[in-house]
Amino acid sequence: MADINPLAPGLPLAIDPEVGGPPTAPIGGIPPRAGRPIARFGRLGPNLVLILCAVFFLAPLLALARYALQNVPTILLGRSTLFKKWSLGGLTKAFSDKQFGPTLTLSLKLAVGTVFLTLALLLPTAIWVHMRLPKMRAVIEFVTVLPYVIPAIALVAGIVVVKPHARWFLDSNYSLVPFYVILALPFTYRSIDAGLRAIDLKTLVDASRSLGAGWGTTLRRALVPNLRTAIISSAFLTTAVVLGEFTIASTLLKNTLPTFQAIYVKREPQGGYGLNLLALVVTTGLFALLTLLTRKRGSRKSTAVVAVAATAGQARTLAP
């Protein structure tokens, strides 16, 4: 990051000791730091990258939107027809399908269940690791990435082996919850971890305990309120994962929103792709909201990284 001029925020410091200039102390006593060359580059470089990225992401989305929402034969989708016959017909038809309501409800219930199980497991664990096993942090972080690195199909293979012995469990719709907890772990752990890093955990816990609070009260009154942003982000991320997961749900023969989408897209391609597009937009909207919510508090960068990763994961699982 470039040095910020304290007298005129937004402008880089005028004096550059490497180039020469008046032999005065840096303005405001801020010592010159490394990283100056980026400031010289100006804003063009980063903006160009941003624009390229936007095109790279938006062009396929636009194509998807045109296919899903324009009542124009695919072969005629050219520049001349750009503003013709837009309609939400395909989508509304998808909404009115009798499978849509129940699968959406199940997916939302699964999301809520996953959020709660994740927090119940992760919050105490992460706090414990930060307080008592700081050296284990790297190891645990590595373990939590595994679900992202190992394809879901590996988990599915495991399920297939166990299936005959665990019918009582796998028959329930909610048997998906533990799997989703695992799938969301790379994102949720990181988000909680970043939240814990941003507060002086040890001192807050010690202060609370010296004031007579047991662990429960400490968690409830001293920690959770200060980890609010991290908890909200991890809830959003979990929801995104649950609303995008197809492989495990279909292996276990559950009717979740993503499995419905996969079937529906074959039956009604236009409405099906409309649903996919909507899912992407809603997810992105969630993350935009998340980024706004977290902006004021410290852990923005890590949340943004996690959000991007999760969107990518979402897109991957969505691909039919």
Partner: protein
């Protein structure tokens, strides 16, 4: 309110011995400050009293009751931390209220006590602010109010002033002492600032690598240090090679200096003789004493620090002289140096420093 007692408390972290065997008796209503270099175990001692760490062996009692194994939240200790420890999501009022609420005290009583405590630390009217709207000094005042609100049996302060700038530190130090005396609360204060320790405490405990080297009133720590470590750590010391010549005498480059510190030494032993700069005086070159040359004079108002090089030993020493006496001295001037050995301390050469019985 009651005294705090450590009995042979030992604490290790893996291979690190944080406390070797600590015996410390903080009497009822007394303020003891623990002083020592970084890593000597001060914080560990405090955290064991607070219940954040547990002793490997030994015991801690408050008012005679053994609390060695009691969990932190049942100990009724007030603690103020070095880093800002207010709950950032709570206002000043609610921060002070935190401990009262966990004690299930009725709302009217809580409100009264919060106001009382904020008044005590001179922050009345700031109750609705959030911690981030306060200066560092104000935050530590709130932390103090929060710790005192629960009417703790012992107050534990871990370098509460070290994050503050010099002026605020001085003011708050005096205030802590005022409040402590006013409430008559048993207090253990950890610091590595000797001025702070000597200025505020009834007694000072000087620690070094997990041991209590000396526990004594501030004046005694300074004038009768129990070991060479204490002598060096508190105030400054000149160090002169010497040989023990009798039960009350050492010889420094041919000059015999009377010092009671030689009593426990063997005659003929080579030692380092530690002398405070105030105990060094300078006379004209033709007088009796150690011949030397003035290397520099630094005027400090009432006193002047004079740097001296002794001819025979070729060591550099310092003298703190009354500015009027030192006014005729200049760099390069030949002088004769006298040493008053009554407060001197001896250290064996080569061997490890001798440890005096800490509680003697």
């Amino acid at each position: 309110m009651t005294g705090l007692l450590y009995i042979s408390v030992r604490k290790t972290f893996g291979p690190t011995v944080a406390l070797e065997s600590l015996d410390l008796d903080v009497k009822e209503g007394e303020l003891i400050s623990l002083l020592g270099p970084s890593g000597c175990g001060k914080t560990t001692a405090l955290r064991i009293a607070a219940g954040f760490e547990f002793a490997d062996s030994g015991a801690v009692t408050v008012g005679g009751a053994d609390i060695t194994r009691k969990p932190a939240h049942k100990r009724n200790m007030g603690m103020v931390f070095q880093s800002y420890s207010l709950f950032p999501n709570l206002t000043v009022n609610l921060n002070v209220d935190f401990g009262l609420r966990t004690r299930k005290i009725g709302a009217p009583e809580r409100k009264k006590r919060v106001a009382e405590m904020l008044e005590l630390v001179q922050l009345g009217g700031m109750g609705n602010r959030y911690p981030h709207q306060l200066s560092g000094g104000q935050q530590q005042r709130v932390a103090l109010a929060r710790a005192l609100a629960i009417r703790p049996s012992v107050l534990l302060l871990d370098e509460p002033l070290s994050a503050l700038d010099a002026k605020v530190r001085l003011a708050l130090r005096d205030e802590i002492r005022r409040i402590q005396t006013e409430l008559g609360i048993t207090t253990l204060l950890v610091t590595h600032d000797q001025e702070e320790a000597l200025g505020i405490a009834d007694r000072v405990g000087v620690m070094s690598s997990g041991r209590l080297e000396q526990l004594a009133p501030p004046a005694q720590i300074y004038s009768r240090p129990a070991s060479a470590f204490v002598a060096r750590f508190v105030g400054s010391m000149n160090e002169l090679p010497a040989v023990v010549r009798g039960p009350d005498a050492v010889e420094v480059s041919g000059q015999t200096i009377m010092t009671p510190s030689a009593l426990t030494r063997d005659v003929g032993e080579s030692v380092l003789f530690l002398v405070r700069p105030e105990d060094v005086t300078v006379r004209d070159a033709d007088q009796d004493g150690l011949a030397g040359t003035v290397t520099a004079t630094t005027f400090q108002g009432a006193s002047t620090v004079v740097g001296l090089r002794l001819d025979v030993l070729d060591v550099l020493i310092h003298a703190h002289l009354n500015s009027s006496t030192a006014s005729h001295l200049a760099a390069g001037q030949r002088v004769s140096v006298q040493i008053d050995g009554t407060r001197g301390v001896l250290e064996s050469l080569g061997a490890a420093p001798v440890v005096e019985d800490a509680l003697a």
